[in-house]
Amino acid sequence: MTRPFAKYLRAAAVMIAGLAIGLAATALSLSSGYGFNPLRAGPWTAWPSVGGADIDPYARAVIARTGEAPLGIDQGLAFVAQEDSSGAQLDGACDYQIVDPTPAARLWTIALATPHGGLIASPAGRYGFSSVDALRREGGAFEIAVARRARAGNWLSPGDARRFVLVLRLYDTPLDVGANADPASFPKIVKLKCD
């Protein structure tokens, strides 16, 4: 009497568990980047296939959920850094310095963003620098300070945000997305001190 009943119960449990595991796998895979083939260079990561016709289903699911309109692969590449060059997570309470060099591109911009891609209200009154308006030292080298307190020169402030990401965008870049990127040609994010 109890035997067949137990079997149905078991089947139901298996189905529910399968559903839960499947949805958990989806949630997990969509929260970690944009699908396959990331292009990594030091702390910077880009997903070139997001801006092309060969976008994979995972990347499409991610950008449909976040609502992004990605840059086309022929237009440029957006690199996001969540960590500094030593591998520690970027922290609003710390001071950072972003230093030369940048890969070849018609122009680049470096901007702060929230982890979800929003702008950060900042006392510095700006959200980023570009290759055109960043102040440079003699010889063309530049550095950008990321700190809560005002700095001379190129200064970005994370404001009161604890978590933030840095976005490096290269426009009209000849960077080969099929090959490994050389981390030495990308800007370094150096942590100076923390409060």
Binding site: R10, G18, I21, V50, G52, R60, A64, Q75, R126
Partner: protein
């Protein structure tokens, strides 16, 4: 042996569970672009306030808390043109002086980017792109033997979608000029040629 028997007893159930999990995972990933409520198209449509007929709407300068799309570069002025090809073809044209970076990308529904160019790709100083669905483009090809040399014809994968124009502002004070440049980009609907 008894333990092994017990395991073998469970094996079909575990296999069934993994199978269900796999199917649920794949279906949910593939379905995500179709069901995501706030994808880029939905955001674009909300931003232009359902502006019909299709025309280019310059977006207000980006500000924290008022971002229309996430992960957009704050150094740019942006314009949107939301279209519906069931009402006719769409022509996007812009003069390209080759001086400042201008990027135009074509997005279909469900996070699909099907064409993206910058001002570098302009032919004879002009960007001129016609988009339509398969039948409209065929009719256009049949009606005009020789397309104007600078005209690019594209078949859109879905009837609805949007065109995103990004105009680079060299420095924050240059935003007004970058927005003015958006006004030189036209986005207009026209009827397919009669047979």
């Amino acid at each position: 042996m008894k333990i092994l028997d017990r395991y073998l007893d469970h094996l079909p159930w575990v296999a069934a569970m993994l199978l269900i999990a796999g199917v649920v995972h794949i279906v949910s990933v593939l379905l995500m672009p179709a069901v995501a409520p706030k994808d880029a198209y939905a955001r674009a449509l909300a931003a232009v306030g359902g502006a019909q007929p299709a025309r280019l709407v310059a977006l207000a300068p980006m500000a924290p808390g008022a971002e229309i799309l996430p992960f957009e570069d704050p150094a740019f002025a942006e314009g949107l043109c939301v279209y519906d090809l069931s009402k006719g073809l769409l022509r996007v044209s812009a003069p390209a002086d080759g001086e400042d970076y201008l990027a135009i990308s074509f997005h279909a529904l469900a996070g699909r980017l099907y064409h993206a160019i910058t001002d570098r790709a302009a032919i004879k100083g002009k960007i001129d792109i016609v988009i339509g669905d398969g039948r409209q483009i065929e009719a256009l090809q049949a009606a005009t033997e020789e397309a104007p040399p600078q005209e690019v014809r594209l078949t859109a994968p879905t009837k609805r979608g949007f065109v995103l124009v990004r105009s680079f502002a060299k420095r924050p004070s240059d935003q007004a000029r970058a927005r003015e440049r958006l006004n030189t980009v036209s986005c207009e609907r026209f009827d397919p040629p009669k047979e």
